[in-house]
């Protein structure tokens, strides 16, 4: 069943590399002088090219190669990093992605245009006589790229590389192909015979490579082991640091083949040299170094595992129930042991499915970059809480709602620079995307420092659309809820991005389908914040098991505030209660479910909170709390909207999970029709 399709693996890896490339490029847009970012981007490109060629993605390899060649000038520092360049590089990245994912549909002319534009971009600064600002660091970079005389390097592999199938000798042979080499084995770290682990590699090598060869050629040799090794490279002739020669022009470095050590730092102030030494101390590592011990697993397998574990938990619950009724200590002990194992396994499995939300946040940087450019509103994007973990399905489904919220924030929230200037705000707008744990929930907030929501205007619009009767007293929060009404938009002009009044209702629906809620907070003139509260996982919830008639149901515990007994005198008649002075309406679940038989003598009310409102649900009996493994209902029964899903109880029968928000809505509708029929 293991998918060993090399092309598929390449696609997946390249996808991740492209994501990291995008991240580096966007960072680069903000800090154009950051050399490590250029290097990161370059490494990603290089790997995409290398493995692309290996797996037969020739188009990808060809395009990436051309792009890399041009981008190399940036890396050498001959060409400064500009916003145009970053935008173009992003376009190129998109093109590479389409070449990989849909090679047949990718348009070659797009690629040619990008390359042509890139040529123009990289050619222009060269024609300008005075070196651009970034060039200060540049020649230094040049020197670390090419050394006319050759290189001295120390090669230290991680001890376990042999077990991974790496053959150091073959790599050394390959290195020898680049030019005449002197290889010295370093035996310093070889332990005593007693402590020697025969499968570990303890040898290190010091290699002197003579001849004109670019650094990339060396990196290419070690391309597949770079993660598992330390490679210290020094251009030959650098050591005698005293003989710094001032050369006429940086171009000389490339042409000159005689040992010209720091010749490449001609018109450069001394600082960059320090920078380079610092560079050398740090071995060339990949940005994604830290993930070296992870295993790639297909998402479907995790889903399958979760299903199995869910079944196990259910079967275990049945076993425990059975063991309780038997007076057999042995069986009870085993049942308890299995209970412990099953719950441990369940927690671990759920943990595996948890993904840091940062992977999602990274996607929005591009969105904001593009939107801010298109709308002419400079925006600073700040994220925090990237390592907050959420179930992976949740993260996938959160993407669309967050896109909507962020678009709205930029399009409607952030004012244009002139307006901001008038309001005395900094010209650059600010969008914050925050994630944090709040109790057993995760709160994701999109906050902008724009104009804020105009509550009076929303109200006026709601009256205009006939959603409220003019003069009704409503709290601000209630007014803001109209934003989530289908077809509601206060935007005077409809832009390509937002203002059509579709979107916010979809956002709300999606979030509610995830059993979450949206809070709006705003301050006129100072911005607004949309907070999404979400459960940690979709797979399992804590529930309260109740009985209505002869059926059992689950109420999500997160929705419940308290449980009280229905006073006998209120068993009939008015459908509201006095809970510590507050008026709480209630719904009789027996009526909603058409339960047969007579209600129990002592009915219970479960007080739930739906948004700001509290609503009681009348049940016959409260059985107890229940770890609920959620099973979705078949789409054939999608018209049963009162239920959000089902679960399996200890005795093996199915119980339905109440969708409290829907129940309340249906209850209201029912009440309204009843009043109307009575009136009629």
């Amino acid at each position: 069943m293991i998918d060993l399709d090399a092309a598929a693996i390449y696609r997946q890896e390249a996808g991740e590399l492209l994501d990291s490339l995008e991240g580096s490029l966007l960072d680069l847009g903000q800090t154009p002088a950051d050399r490590t970012l250029v290097d990161q981007a370059f490494r990603a490109l290089h790997t995409i090219k290398g493995s692309g060629a290996m797996f037969g993605f020739d188009q990808v390899a060809a395009f990436t190669h051309d792009f890399e060649t041009a981008f190399d000038l940036v890396r050498r520092g001959t060409v400064p990093v500009t916003q145009d360049l970053v935008s173009l590089a992003l376009a190129a990245k998109d093109h590479i992605r389409s070449l990989i994912e849909t090679p047949d549909e990718a348009d070659a002319t797009v690629g040619r245009t990008i390359l042509a534009n890139l040529q123009i971009l990289v050619a222009r600064p060269g024609s300008i006589a005075e070196p651009p600002v970034e060039a200060a660091i540049a020649p230094d970079a040049g020197s670390s790229e090419t050394a006319g005389a050759g290189w001295r390097m120390t090669i230290a592999f991680a001890p376990e590389v042999l077990r991974n199938g790496t053959d150091p000798l073959a790599l050394l042979d390959e290195l020898r192909g680049l030019g005449p080499c002197t290889v010295v084995a370093l035996t310093d770290s070889v332990p005593d015979l007693g402590a020697l682990e025969p499968q570990d590699l303890h040898l290190q090598w010091s290699v002197t490579l003579r001849g004109d060869c670019p650094r990339e050629a060396i990196d290419d040799v070690f391309m597949f082991v770079l993660d598992d090794m330390k490679l210290d490279l020094t251009p030959l002739g650098v050591e005698p640091s005293g003989e710094t020669v001032a050369a006429a022009a940086p171009e000389l470095v490339i042409a000159e083949s005689t040992p010209l050590p720091v010749a490449s730092t001609p018109a450069t102030p001394p600082e960059p040299q320090k920078a380079r030494t610092a560079d050398k101390v740090e071995p060339p590592r990949r940005a994604d170094d830290k993930v070296s011990t992870s295993v790639r697993v297909q998402a479907e397998r995790l889903d399958e595992l979760m299903d199995r574990v869910g079944e196990l938990v259910i079967a275990q619950a049945r076993l425990s129930q059975l063991a309780h009724t038997r007076n057999d200590g042995g069986i009870q002990a085993i049942a308890e042991e299995i209970e412990r194992l099953a719950s441990g396994l369940r927690d671990t499995t759920m943990g595996i499915r948890m993904v840091p939300i940062g992977s999602l946040f990274a996607r929005f940087r591009r969105l904001i970059h593009d939107l801010s450019r298109d709308l002419g509103k400079p925006v600073e994007f700040v994220t925090s809480g990237e390592d907050t973990e959420l179930d992976k399905t949740m993260i996938e489904r959160l993407a669309d709602p967050l896109v909507h919220l962020i678009r709205n924030a930029i399009d409607h929230g952030i004012e244009n620079p002139e307006r901001r200037a008038k309001a005395g705000k900094p010209p650059v707008g600010r969008i914050e995307l925050l994630a944090q744990h709040v109790g057993a929930q995760v709160m994701v907030t999109v906050r902008d420092d724009g104009g804020g929501l105009d509550t009076t205007r929303i109200r006026a619009k709601a009256e205009e659309q006939g959603l409220i009767v003019p003069g009704t007293t409503l709290s601000d929060a209630e007014v803001h809820q109209f934003l989530f009404h289908p077809g509601f938009s206060t935007a005077q002009t409809v832009s390509a991005l937002s203002g059509r009044g579709v979107g916010m209702d979809v956002v709300k629906r999606t979030i509610e389908a995830l059993r979450g809620s949206i809070d709006v907070s705003t301050e006129l003139g100072h911005g607004s914040a949309m907070s999404l509260r979400l459960p940690l996982t979709l797979a399992i919830i804590e529930g309260l098991l109740i009985r209505v008639g002869d059926s059992r149901y689950i109420v999500p515990l997160s929705m419940i505030e308290e449980c009280v007994e229905l006073p006998a005198d209120q068993a009939r008649g008015r459908n509201f209660l006095n809970i510590r002075g507050g008026l709480v309406p209630f719904l009789r679940l027996r009526d909603l479910f058409d339960a047969p038989g007579e209600p129990d003598a002592h009915q219970k009310i479960i007080i739930t909170s739906v948004g700001d409102a509290r609503v009681g649900l009348v049940a016959d009996q409260i059985i107890g709390s229940h770890q609920t493994v959620i099973k979705s209902l078949s789409k054939l029964q999608s018209d049963a909207t009162m239920f959000s899903g089902a679960t399996i109880l200890g005795d093996g029968s199915a119980a339905l999970i109440l969708d409290v928000a829907q129940l309340v809505a249906i209850g209201q509708l029912k009440a309204e029709t009843e009043t109307m029929t009575r009136a009629a």
Binding site: D594, S634, K635, L636, A640
Partner: protein, 150 residues
């Protein structure tokens, strides 16, 4: 789906009894046949999909075709079984349990004996019927499960 004659001629079917009628369900969509299990009523669902049940750790709907066909519902008897079938509806796989008053046998129906569905003389809507085939001198209805359930 409707062009049944085009295939090589015979199909494996499971014979199930509903009321006094015998239907044939293609064996290829039948996943298993189980004894009746406790079911949970679903308020607000379609009348012919009145409940859900636990089948091997999955909650699946129970379909009562007798309601769909307007046949009288009898109480579960000793022969009552649930036939779990798997279909594709709007490109999504759907698993449903069907109540059968009795399950007879798996047999082969000759498609060449298939008769066009008459527009009259039937208790149910013609669109619910894929075709009618002859088996042991009896006319057997092969229902169109996708349409019936959707």
């Amino acid at each position: 789906m409707t062009d049944v004659q085009a295939n090589d001629g015979s199909m494996q079917v499971l014979m199930i009894g509903l009321g006094d009628e015998i239907f044939a369900v293609e064996a290829s969509i039948v996943r298993e046949i189980i004894d009746p299990v406790p079911v949970t009523r679903v308020a607000g669902a379609k009348p012919f999909l009145p409940a859900v049940m636990n089948v091997r750790g999955n909650v699946i709907p129970l379909a009562d075709l007798r309601i769909r066909f307007g046949m009288p519902c009898t109480a579960d008897g000793g022969d009552t079984r649930i036939v779990v079938i798997e279909l594709t509806i709007n490109d999504d796989p759907v698993v449903v349990g069907i109540i059968a008053d009795k399950v007879y046998e798996v047999t082969e129906l000759s498609k060449s004996s298939a008769q066009p569905t008459p527009r009259v003389g039937l208790r149910w809507k013609p669109e619910y019927i894929r075709f009618i085939a002859k088996w042991n001198d009896e006319f057997i209805i092969v229902p169109d499960m996708e349409r019936i359930l959707n």
